[in-house]
Amino acid sequence: MSIPVLALEKVRKAFGSEVVLEDISITVPDHTATVFIGASGSGKSTLLRCINLLEQIDDGVIRLDGQDISDVSVDPDEIRRKLGMVFQSFNLFPHVSVVENIILAPMRVHGKSRDEAIVEALELLTRFGLREKAEQYPDRLSGGQQQRVAIIRSLAVKPRLLLLDEITSALDPVLVNEVLSTVRDLKEYGMTMLLATHEMGFAKQVADEVCFLEHGRILEWGKPEEILENPKKAQTKEFLKRVHEAGRL
């Protein structure tokens, strides 16, 4: 069996005395999408931030392509170059145009020439239907468009793994769809992804594996149809019932 893109072994994370992640062990093979579901505060976002080394873990091991990236000698900048991350709040750089947002990392981190970076950025924008927004500033874009630019920005560095942190939570239902369709495209291109989401219908469509988190622990982990349709644990059932009542399934 080949080495998984990402492997977590007994990862633990606490903020002070509050434990937010406990005994997290998962593997993510190449070209698959793993979706984390769970209530707010269950640790989904923290998990993604730990993988990106934006947060330090307190125990366990994180491996990226077999390399232990939780080792103290690892340069976080080096690792982050291989990972893309998209945030709930878009976090586009408001002081530069869309295309400048996208070419910043390819130029400054990956040493591409400006022309080369622009050509690639425009290619990506065209592919995702945002070519005409290249020269606009982020505040001129709708939330959905901003989030799609944020996705493109993280794609521009050709990441090994894409981390998507509740990327539709700040959007109204109409805009959610255009962002989700972008993610489905990424899936078709074979991007390896880790998502935290509240969109169960979407999780069912895009996920190869679904992971249910509660109070920082993985309660259930498996194929989307198992977890979302025939959950074994009472907590998972309860969670899905509440989501269903909220009209998200």
Partner: protein, 303 residues
Amino acid sequence: MNQEVGRGSENSSDSAPYSFGGAWQPSAIEIERRIARKARSRKNALVAAASSILVLGTLLSIIITSPGWKTLSETFFKWAYGFEVLPKIILGFGANLFLTVIAATSVAFFGLILALVRTSRSPAITPFRLLAMVYVDVFRGIPMLLIILLVGFGVPALRLQGVTNNVFILGIMAVIITYSAYVAEVIRSGILTVHPSQRAAARSLGLSNMQTLRYVVLPQALRRVTPPLLNDLVSLIKDTGLVSILGVTDAIRAAQIESSRSFNYTPYVMAAGIFLLVTIPLTRYTDRTLRKSIERQNAQGLA
């Protein structure tokens, strides 16, 4: 549940779904409203004019009819004399402008360095961070006039070899020392207002700490503090006048020399006028940048 809309809906925000214009004419009710609005704004303008004339007129008449007005206008507003000495004051104001240019560029440099040191979290910087903090606390807390006196008379008293006794240079140094502390704090507050999520986004793209600062944090921070920095520039222009106490012949000193010769204070009024000629346009410009910057931030808040 319908997840299949996606692509088709993406341009809906660009083109208006309805077509306005063409045959539209304001309705009778709208025409009536417009007439009422016009009448109201006419009335408002009248009230404003009447109140201004009343208040300003009263003030003016109080001043002009006061018993001392005649002597006062003789000693402060003797325009013929004022224009006679004007060239000398303008020459002196050249020194103020020169001081301002030199000081502003140095202050921008040192202020930025201080702000960066104070906001840095690098362990190697720790002693400098402490020094910067003490520096800012001390020099923001002492009146600038005192610093000018201390530098202007203290440094020469040290009799150090190679250190200048030129009051002009010492004066500039004192101004730079003080204003660097002010400006450092303004820039630092700008850096702190850039949301942590911007750093997170930059770092997650693989940018180093320095690159994040250079390409993401500082551009946003400096843009945000441009209005207060321009305010400081206006203050700086005025405060360069304080170095006259060391004997630098600036506009104030030039006016002082003239007025002590003639026992007439018109030169001071002329000097004040020259300062205003520069500071008022700059203040207006500052207000405009501030308004624009607020509009920009509000627009971002909506997104």
